[in-house]
Amino acid sequence: MNNTSYESVMGRKNEIMKKAVGIDYNVFESGDIRFDYEKMMRDTGYSLDEIQKIQLATGVGNTPLLELKNLTKLARKVAPKGMGARIFIKDEASNPSGSFKARRAATAVYHAKRLGYKGVIAATSGNYGAAVASQAAMQGLKCIIVQECYDSKGIGQPEIIEKARKCEAYGAEVIQLTVGPELFYTFLRLLEETGYFNASLYTPFGIAGVETLGYEIAMQFREREGKDPDVVVCTNAGGGNLTGTARGMIKAGADQTQIIAASVNLSGLHMASDIQFNKKSFTTGHTGFGMPFSTGPDRSDVPRSAARPLRYMHRYVTVAQGEVFYMTETLAQIEGLERGPAGNTSLVAAFSLAQQLDEDKIIVVQETEYTGAGKHVQPQLSFARDNGIDIKFGNPRDEVPGQNIILPEHPRLIQAQEVDLNKLRRSYINHCIDDYGQKEISNEDLDFLVQETKSSIEFVKEIIKEKDIKISE
């Protein structure tokens, strides 16, 4: 019997993971900073064609593309004359489990079954849990979902409690925990105990599962409008949504489309804090995941994450919690679409960004998510109020996460805030160099850092020069 203390389980992490994911990540490593990302995606993933077949077999994908004509009209009312791109939304809530996560889960569970695993485990408080549970039900595997759900008073986020219900509805076992990163410890112990597959969000097949979303967007627009969209906005947390969508667009040849990331601004709140846990009104799609996973993607539950958003994003914007709730209500009131709040993060950004584009341009929001008790603008705002958060109309720029939620008093006040991407790129490069710990890096590593940050040789050289790092000849 293995020692189950925190230290010894964490010490066995790599060994447990190798067994539970079926990938030897070492073969993609160089021993230096770089690893072969494309080889990892090629050798361990599936082709787009195979994934389309896998997803078709379980009713995943081919979701409707809807034009939000009234929202576009509203944007044009508040935009400068002649501005206001057409806003479209990909209604991913139509997937079997109610979100785009079904795409990721379909390939992960298919892969687990093909390798002969009896069950799957995922550590997630988000829509991915229901997606894995739904796929496990379809493909006849057992399923365990581990959630971070409660604070130390036993008060749970309504959104997460609803997601637990949905997982159980599909026959999954749900283990709920209080706040803390040691969720990973519980997760590892379960993998060891059951021998199940780690249906991580960050494996190559999980990310490849999202590529069909980008591909479909390009194909649907060509069929309908005869051209690719100008901008696609992706809600960004762990980075997989953006990475997969962008890769799918590129595979479709839509390489002129701008990919813009959007996250809910939760700056100032610590994600592992027991006291602050219920002071936030979004449990995903926020900067608490979006920023650290952009600047350090390999902090995930696999040695090398297949989600590497900095490689693909052209811009990154943040929006306020009050703006997202307001936009969720807007979508219901003027478009007749009642959808979950977190999925509407990118919709807020699109509404604002559309006003910077000409009327003949097209901007796409690439997801929606299901809504229901707990996971809805009404209970989430009510919960915030119960936790002492001041909810009022005003200017969203005055919102302080954890203290108030400001619903815009007029739609013209909805304004996505630009994140300095170079700052994130710099932070990513610094992480890599610090982890590496050497005074000299190779030209190959230099190229890798350029690709990882979608920057230039000059940009990376400047940063490593500041750090007194040399490039070996």
């Binding site: 309504p158 519980t186 804090s273």
Partner: protein, 102 residues
């Protein structure tokens, strides 16, 4: 209250005590244990508060303190948030109210 073997129950257990918590955890979180809740079929007759074993829906055996029998979902749509009413009213007026820019 006697809970019968085979009943569907909710159990609770402490995964890590405060002194066993990970070093990177913030101070407020370090003061409290890491707790967990698991549901399953009770393996022996017991009373609320007893340490019991349950068989989960996936067939795993798990130990914990017995909290509740037939645990129900209590989440709902919360208290009414009247501010939300104003959003639709304002937007419809901007879109179709005939005003120019407001």
């Amino acid at each position: 209250m006697k809970i019968k073997k085979g009943d569907w129950v909710l159990t609770y257990h402490v995964v890590l005590t405060p002194d066993e918590r990970a070093p990177q955890v913030p101070d407020d979180t370090k003061k409290v244990p890491l707790e967990s809740w698991v549901k399953g079929f009770l393996q022996e007759d017991a009373e609320i508060g007893d340490e019991v074993t349950v068989k989960t829906i996936t067939g795993r055996m798990a130990k914990g303190k017995l909290l509740e029998v037939n645990p129900a979902y209590q989440h709902n749509f919360g208290n009414f948030v009247p501010e939300l009413l104003q959003v639709g009213i304002q937007l419809k007026s901007i879109l179709w109210g005939g005003e120019q820019n407001e």
